[in-house]
């Protein structure tokens, strides 16, 4: 599992299900630095602070509490008291207060039932002018807020005012903000141009046409300037290209997009390639060109949705060698859980595999399969998936079964065959029977025909000891069930199942990474398991009055492991 993760380039912190508790905690501790809490301070600092500062600290705490409890009126009340910190005589506290009032104030207004747009405008105007440092940022936020409320012209006006603002020396972050303001100025020009365009097309009017062109000129000048600087400018590039296309300047548009995608100074940006691809596709570029773009994209994002298109392009390409490339692309795609249940992807895989089989390239399939058969079996081909697919998406089940059949020829995995032959056979059988008219009759029969091995996945959660439950993956996902049973501790004896509700912090988790095979030596985990259960048991004993404080151990093992136990 680890190897494949590394191969897939998933960062380890994302795939957190593979780590035992202790290392998890360590990593979290390393990664998260304690935040600076403005509303609390050390006892030492507290002894020295003045009554005024104490009041502001307490007030901030009260605001925070009120906001966390969604008491917006109360929060507004405390914020009104807090505003006196603006008059703090120490400069840094004062500018901090400015930012706090701005951020908290907008947040409160956002949620307050009685807030009006005028309140927002007033707050933004006041904060803009009292905290010079945040002027640009507040202006941007203000215009975004206006945009959200559909006041495009007001937003534009705000930005133009902000763009012409100068106050002393520009600091580095300020100049960045001003750059953004400039960019959005251009973008809003484009938006207005776009609005005019749609209205003009209906009524041919010279003056409004001229107005539209003036917006185009403004927008294009600004956007060109902005795009020329390295950075991620997705919406700006798109709007610029849109305008260029409207005025039939394809060459310039292509130049812009190519520069955006291939210029080394720009940060690596998959979207840039997507835009280029879409542009070329719109203008019917030759497939070879498209393939070359998608190749880069595949390198950057193997799970991108365009990879299917890439795959078909490769399969249909006449250039030798392209066909062979298509197989890893589609296999890669299905390595990602996001495509796990996507019918089109599976269809794509099936198509590619049939083509390969027809052309006698089975060894390539076998090669790809060998790399990932272990985890594909658990990821795609477990009885649970079969059952779920049969409920949700029958078609998918069929395609998966067909793929499995093709794969089975190469795998030589006895367990896989044992487990799934029936399924495959059945699915093929099903497909034959699935004439337009017959599908209705079959729908009821299907679930029964699924593998009926004594599978723990079908079992109910079972109390073993008063404080010990045995459950499966489904149970582990069922947050309500576990809460109902007062489960507090969960022992996960798998390598692949995630610690489902770890992030909630409600349950204590322990993972014993034992695999689901008869070669697994389980003895090494006994000690650890007993220790964990022991801790919980003691905990249980010490709270005898409260018999409902229990734990559960969820073991998702198959009968093989149970036999070994």
């Amino acid at each position: 599992m680890d190897d494949i993760e590394a191969e897939l380039g998933i960062s380890r912190s994302v795939g957190n299900e593979d780590f035992s508790d202790s290392s998890e905690d360590e990593r979290v501790a390393r990664k998260i630095r304690p935040p600076i809490l403005l509303h609390s301070s050390t006892a030492q600092a507290r002894a020295k602070e003045s009554g005024f500062h104490e009041s502001s600290r307490l007030c901030l705490k009260a605001i925070r509490d009120a906001m966390l409890h969604h008491h917006w009126q109360e929060a507004a009340q405390y914020l009104s008291a807090y505003s006196q910190t603006l008059e703090d005589t120490t400069v840094n506290k004062q500018s901090l207060a400015c930012e706090i009032i701005w951020r908290l104030g907008t947040e409160i207004l956002q949620h307050h039932p009685n807030s009006r747009l005028e309140d927002f405008n007033a707050l933004y105007e006041q904060m803009k002018n009292s905290g010079v440092k945040n002027y640009a940022k507040i202006c941007l936020e203000h215009s975004f807020h206006l945009l959200l409320n559909g006041h495009i012209y007001d937003a534009k006006r705000q930005l133009s005012v902000a763009a012409s603002w100068r106050y002393g020396k520009q600091s580095v972050p300020q100049s960045l903000d001003l750059k953004l303001i400039h960019a959005y100025c251009g973008f809003l020009d484009y938006v207005i141009w776009h609005m005019k365009k749609s209205s003009v097309s209906e009524a041919e009017d010279n003056s409004s046409n001229r107005e539209m062109h003036s917006y185009f000129r403004q927008a294009s000048v600004t956007l060109q300037e902005i795009i020329a600087q390295p950075g991620v400018w997705d919406p700006f590039v798109l709007s610029y290209v849109d305008m260029l296309e409207f005025y039939n300047d394809q060459e310039e548009a292509l130049k812009v997009l190519q520069n955006y995608a291939y210029n080394k100074d720009y940060p690596s940006n998959p979207n840039a390639h997507v835009y280029l691809y879409q542009f070329l596709k719109r203008h019917e570029a030759p497939p070879a060109k498209l393939i070359s773009i998608l190749k880069v994209l595949h390198h950057l994002v193997p799970s991108h949705e365009l990879m299917q298109e890439y795959c078909y392009l490769l399969v249909n390409s006449v250039v030798p060698g392209h066909l062979e490339e298509s197989l890893p692309v589609v296999f890669n795609l299905l390595d990602y859980p996001s495509w796990k249940n996507d019918l089109d992807t599976w269809n794509c895989l099936l198509t590619v595999m049939t083509v390969f089989k027809r052309k006698g390239l089975q060894h390539l399939i076998a090669n790809e399969w060998k790399q990932r058969k272990d985890f594909w079996l658990t990821m795609h081909y477990r009885a649970y998936h079969g059952r779920k697919d049969s409920e949700l998406n029958r078609e998918l089940l069929l395609v998966k079964a067909k793929v499995a059949k093709l794969l089975g020829e190469h795998g030589g995995l006895s367990s896989f065959r044992q487990g799934h032959e029936e399924l495959c056979e059945h699915s093929l059988h099903l497909q034959e029977g699935q004439d337009p008219g017959a599908s209705v009759g079959l729908s009821g029969a299907l679930p029964h025909s699924l593998p009926s091995t004594p599978d723990i996945e079908n079992a109910e959660i079972t109390p073993i000891l008063p404080f010990l439950f045995l459950g499966n993956e489904q149970d582990a996902q069922d947050h309500d069930l576990m809460q109902r049973l007062n489960i507090g501790y969960i022992l996960n004896v798998t390598t692949h199942l995630p610690l489902y509700h770890y992030s909630l912090g409600l349950f204590k988790y322990k993972r014993l990474p034992a695999t689901d095979s008869n070669k697994q030596n389980l003895r090494q985990y006994f000690e650890e398991a007993f220790e964990f259960i022991g801790i919980v048991h003691r905990f249980f004993l010490s709270y005898k009055q409260n018999l409902w404080t229990f734990l559960c151990i969820i073991i998702s093992v198959k009968s093989t492991i149970l036999n070994n136990l």
């Binding site: 003045s50 009126q73 507004a76 009340q77 104030g105 409160i108 009685n114 309140d119 006041q126």
Partner: protein, 543 residues
């Protein structure tokens, strides 16, 4: 020189007994011998009619210039403090302190202070910008300030202070500059804001009023005594800006320790004689003060007799112990309220041991005995005092009060509506900021909806209310009995609990002896810490 004017008045001076009167330029009589200014003026003979001047007194009329700024006039920092003291005195009198407080005691202390620090009432006044300061009053008959300056120095001052005084420091008052240097502040024992409270405290103590220092500070915190932003009240013609802000601005309510220390210092500066004795009928006496605190924390009245026993045994009820005498070299300046609270805590420790064990055993016993008693009489509810029941009543009330206090503190306005302008060049910025704050406050205020008004702070000296009333903090336990805690052995009654504990006594030097509580806190019994917390909340002493 003034003989012809003063000869009609031949009363001996109250302070020194001499009959040697002279007339100040405010037409007020003063004693040439001891510089005591009496209330008699040239034309008003009625001595008793004296009250503290309603108008602020200021620099001698001859040197006063009204032309500095329009509508303004020159004033000195000590006049500002005098005005504040006057407001505070009026507030205290309004709260029920005897009127003498304002007219005699505080006023005398203040005169004495000015005289001793040679700011006024002296032949050789000290001043940073001119050799002479003339103090007098605008309102002639009720003059508050008088200078003893004789006429020969009069002409000098007119030109003296206006130039160098104002050019160096930007301030509304004339002598703000010298208040800003720490050295001068110390050497000349100049006033500061906590010292106004210290003076009030000394004066209250002199009168043996029931307001203790903790009460005084609570009244200040509740704004019943002007202290925060008191400069708002200054009359129009006292222009207030620049450095004055640093002297009069208050951003914290001084701690108990600070005011106590300042009061001790002031007593030394003023060279006060022995204070009137604290007798057993006086409210500062630990017996009465502890009764008040027993009621406050809902402890049974029976406990009071035990507290009195402790007072008696420790000889803390003696006048000689309780009376403050700054003139004696080793006289201690007692913390009357703290001492009373400490007596209660010690009594509780004697009675219940408070080691997280004995007190609960005893309270279980009390409940058991109560049950037995009930079977016999079955008339009333529980009669016995159970510490557990007490804790369960007081603890939630305390937590609520703490929460209330914290939210009150969070909402406390510190900034004045009257803008302080630290310097002319910042004027626009400061005014703009004030405007922004006001706009913010009004705009967010409209969003608060109908929030229940903050409870009007009543000047009650009690913070908890125990009894059957609707808004009480819990049932009253004042009439519970302590029988369970005493047992008869022979003829005398003994405490059931016979052990008493104390933390380790350690030798430490007076100089670097600091807060030991924070070190010990974690090793002390929880119940004891809780009790200390209760009293420190009541007395507003935060550790």
């Amino acid at each position: 020189m003034d003989e012809h004017l003063t000869e009609g008045y031949s009363e001996p001076c109250k302070q020194c007994g001499a009959v040697s009167w002279a007339l100040s330029d405010g037409c007020q009589f003063f004693c040439r011998n001891c510089h005591n200014v009496i209330e008699k003026t040239q034309d008003v003979v009625d001595v008793s009619s004296f009250i503290l001047n309603n108008k602020i007194s200021s620099i001698s009329s001859s040197s006063r210039k009204k032309t500095r700024r329009e509508g303004g006039r020159e004033w000195m920092v000590c006049e500002g403090f005098q005005f504040i003291l006057k407001l505070q005195a009026e507030a205290l009198v309004g709260l029920g302190v005897c009127p003498q407080f304002k007219t005699d005691v505080l006023w005398d202390f203040w005169k004495r202070y000015l005289q001793i620090t040679r700011q006024a009432y002296t032949r050789s006044p000290v001043n940073s910008f001119t050799n002479t300061v003339y103090l007098s009053s605008e309102s002639e008959p009720e003059s508050a300030f008088l200078s003893e300056a004789s006429d020969q120095t009069e002409p000098m001052s007119a030109s003296g202070h206006s130039t160098d005084g104002r050019s160096s420091v930007c301030s509304g008052s004339l002598d703000a500059a010298c208040y800003l240097s720490a050295k001068e502040r110390k050497s000349r024992q100049l006033m500061n804001m906590p010292r106004t409270l210290a003076l009030c405290h000394l004066a209250l103590l002199w009168l043996r009023e029931a307001i203790t220092l903790a009460d005084l500070l609570r009244l200040v915190s509740r704004r019943l005594i002007p202290y925060i932003n008191v400069y708002e009240e200054f009359p129009e013609e006292m222009q207030f800006y620049g450095r004055d802000a640093i002297i009069f601005r208050v951003e914290t309510i001084p701690s108990y320790r600070k005011v106590h220390g300042e009061a001790l210092q002031m007593a030394e500066i003023l060279q006060l004689p022995a204070f009137p004795p604290v007798t057993s009928d006086c409210l500062l006496h630990p017996a009465l003060l502890s009764l008040r605190y027993l009621m406050e924390v809902n402890l049974p009245d029976e406990l009071h007799s035990l507290v009195c026993r402790v007072i008696e045994k420790s000889a803390m009820g003696k006048e000689s112990f309780l009376t403050f005498n700054p003139s004696k070299p080793k006289s201690t300046f007692l913390f009357y309220d703290l001492q009373a609270a400490a007596l209660i805590i010690v009594t509780m420790k004697l009675l219940f041991k408070l080691d997280d064990h004995v007190e609960w055993t005893l309270s279980r016993k009390a409940v058991k005995k109560d049950d037995q008693g009930k079977k016999k009489t079955s008339k009333q509810g529980s009669k016995m005092f159970s510490l557990k029941a007490w804790y369960m009543t007081v603890h939630p009330a305390l937590e609520r009060a703490r929460q209330r206090e914290e939210l009150f503190e969070a909402r406390r306005p510190w900034k004045s509506k009257k803008v302080l302008i630290p310097a002319m060049k910042h004027k626009a910025v400061v005014l703009k900021r004030r405007r922004v704050v006001e706009q913010l406050q009004s705009s967010f205020h409209t969003l608060t909806g109908s929030v229940p008004e903050q409870q009007s702070s009543s000047p009650s000296s009690f913070q908890f209310l125990w009894g059957q009333e609707e808004d009480s903090d819990g049932p009253s336990l004042h009439h519970k009995r302590l029988n369970c805690m005493l047992e008869k052995r022979g003829k005398e009654k003994w405490l059931v609990n016979q052990a008493y504990w104390h933390t380790d006594l350690k030798r430490c030097h007076k100089k670097d002896c600091r807060d030991h509580y924070s070190e010990l806190k974690h090793s002390l019994p929880r119940m004891y810490v809780w009790l200390l917390g209760l009293f420190s909340f009541l007395l507003r002493i935060f550790v």
